[in-house]
């Protein structure tokens, strides 16, 4: 049985990428990471139990590349992992053409570097769970950062932002936007965690009435990097 989904369609470009780093097979990547004391396969499964097999191997390949490149900074390793992810993109696919793998690696790199001060999850506030990823990212990134990464949630809908804050223990910040001057004012703030110093309490959650207010909130919070869903 092949190691992961669509192995045949992925193999040529993975092996071509690996060759550049003096690695001859996907299995060898596992040996390299094991020797470095990193069980990438199970690490990925631990983060997302329902992920595809190819995700676990893509990160294994990426980690092996990072080791071969002798990346000593977490940010450099993240970018190198992106090279592995890119190799798993099927030629001609949207992921391949838009360089999604490299993009993921570089996003990780940005979040790990000190000059990124604030990271925004730009979403529609449509699901309670969508916010969970934000906290996970901040907690992990802060392991290597000297200055903690600030995370905010920003999306359409003030009521929804408040309900999500209440359920997840974030700090809800209500704003009022002046469409004439472009000024955004804070009118209400409430921390929904019992411990105001907890990682969740430090996540400011905003609801915007429209895109203009949303952009003003991003400026107000000095957001450096943001990601969004659909």
């Amino acid at each position: 049985m092949s190691l992961f989904e669509s192995y045949e369609r992925r193999e040529p470009q993975i092996l071509a990428t690996l060759k550049e780093y003096g690695i001859s097979s996907v299995e060898e990547c596992k040996e390299i990471t094991d020797a470095a004391g990193i069980d990438v396969y199970n690490l990925i499964e631990g983060i997302q139990p329902i992920c595809f097999e190819n995700a676990k191997w893509a990160y294994t390949v990426g980690a092996a590349i990072a080791i071969k490149k002798n990346c000593r900074r977490a940010a450099d390793a993240a970018a190198a992992i992106g090279i592995g992810l890119q190799a798993f993109c099927i030629p001609g696919s949207v992921a391949d053409r838009r360089k999604v793998g490299l993009g993921h690696g570089n996003l990780g790199k940005m979040l790990l570097e000190e000059d990124t001060e604030c990271f925004a999850f730009l979403a529609g506030h449509e699901s309670f769970a969508a916010a969970e990823g934000a906290i996970g990212i901040a907690e992990k990134a802060n392991k290597v950062r000297t200055k903690p990464l600030r995370v905010i949630l920003n999306g359409l809908g003030k009521d929804a932002a408040q309900i999500i804050s209440r359920i997840n223990g974030f700090t809800y910040v209500e704003t009022e936007y002046d469409y004439f001057t472009g000024e955004v004012k804070e009118v209400f703030r409430k921390c929904y965690s019992k411990d105001a110093d907890s990682p969740r309490a430090k996540v400011n959650c905003y609801g915007a009435n429209d895109v203009q207010e949303g952009v003003a909130i991003m400026w107000k919070e000095n957001v450096d990097v943001s990601i969004t869903g659909n």
Binding site: G92, I167, G169
Partner: protein, 230 residues
């Protein structure tokens, strides 16, 4: 085919262009769809009946015009569940064109089929950029572990406020309230998982506990209420 005398008497003017249809993306190919067998893809359609008492989500995996896999999900109408039972038998094997006019008399399922047809013939499918499309079985995979439909049931009144009865997590057993009686979390049992545990040999109590969980700030709750009774 008969031409009228008026048209017959006209002089011919050359029809100088014939590019045909603009191509649509199907399973990672750009197809100039001319016949029903040119249509392939995995996509969804949502339908409703005239009194809007129930609705249907239809997901079809179509290969070369023929429905290979049908997932029929319905809510809100008891009769529709039985029409859905018939649809699972009637739809596979038909072309998407035939499926528009089946013997099914459930308006919601037929409307879902119409909407799905529009999606698929205009190239709006989930598999537009996936080489060879999705495997047969993708519909079942959509249901996730435990193979039950994703259903949300919530209820609210002006006097007594909101209640969560069923969310993606499962059947809500308790809603957690804070000191102000606002919802800050909930406890649930996932029936699909519970049945899988029971089938694997667990006793009912163990299975119930293993399939139970909570979301949000249940630990901070001032009280827990049964959303169906209290």
């Amino acid at each position: 085919m008969i031409y009228s005398t008026e048209v017959k008497n006209m002089c011919p003017v050359t029809q100088g262009v014939h590019h045909g249809a603009a191509p649509i993306p199907e399973e990672a190919k750009w197809v100039q769809a001319k016949k029903v067998e040119d249509i392939s893809g995995y996509t969804h359609g949502i339908g409703w009946c005239a009194p809007q008492q129930g609705c249907c989500k239809l997901s079809l995996n179509v290969k070369d015009g023929i429905i290979q896999e049908a997932l029929v999900e319905t809510i809100g109408c008891s009769g529709m569940t039985h029409s859905a039972a018939m649809a699972a038998e009637i739809l596979p094997g038909l072309t998407v064109l035939e499926a528009l006019n089946t013997d099914l008399v459930c308006d919601a399922i037929n409307t879902a089929m119409r909407e799905l047809f529009l999606q698929i013939v205009y190239g709006r499918t989930q598999s537009a950029f996936s080489e060879d499309g999705l495997q047969i079985g993708a519909g079942l995979e959509d249901l996730g572990k435990g193979a039950r439909s994703m259903v949300g049931t919530t209820y609210g009144t002006l006097d007594k406020g909101p209640r969560y009865l069923e969310l993606t997590d499962g059947y809500i057993t308790d809603v957690a309230l804070n000191e102000e009686d606002e919802i800050i979390g909930y406890k649930y049992v996932n029936f699909g998982k519970m049945m899988d545990f029971i089938k694997a040999g667990d006793d009912h109590k163990t299975a119930f506990e293993k399939a139970s969980g909570q979301y949000g700030r249940v630990a901070d709750a001032a009280k827990l209420i049964d959303p169906r009774k209290q």
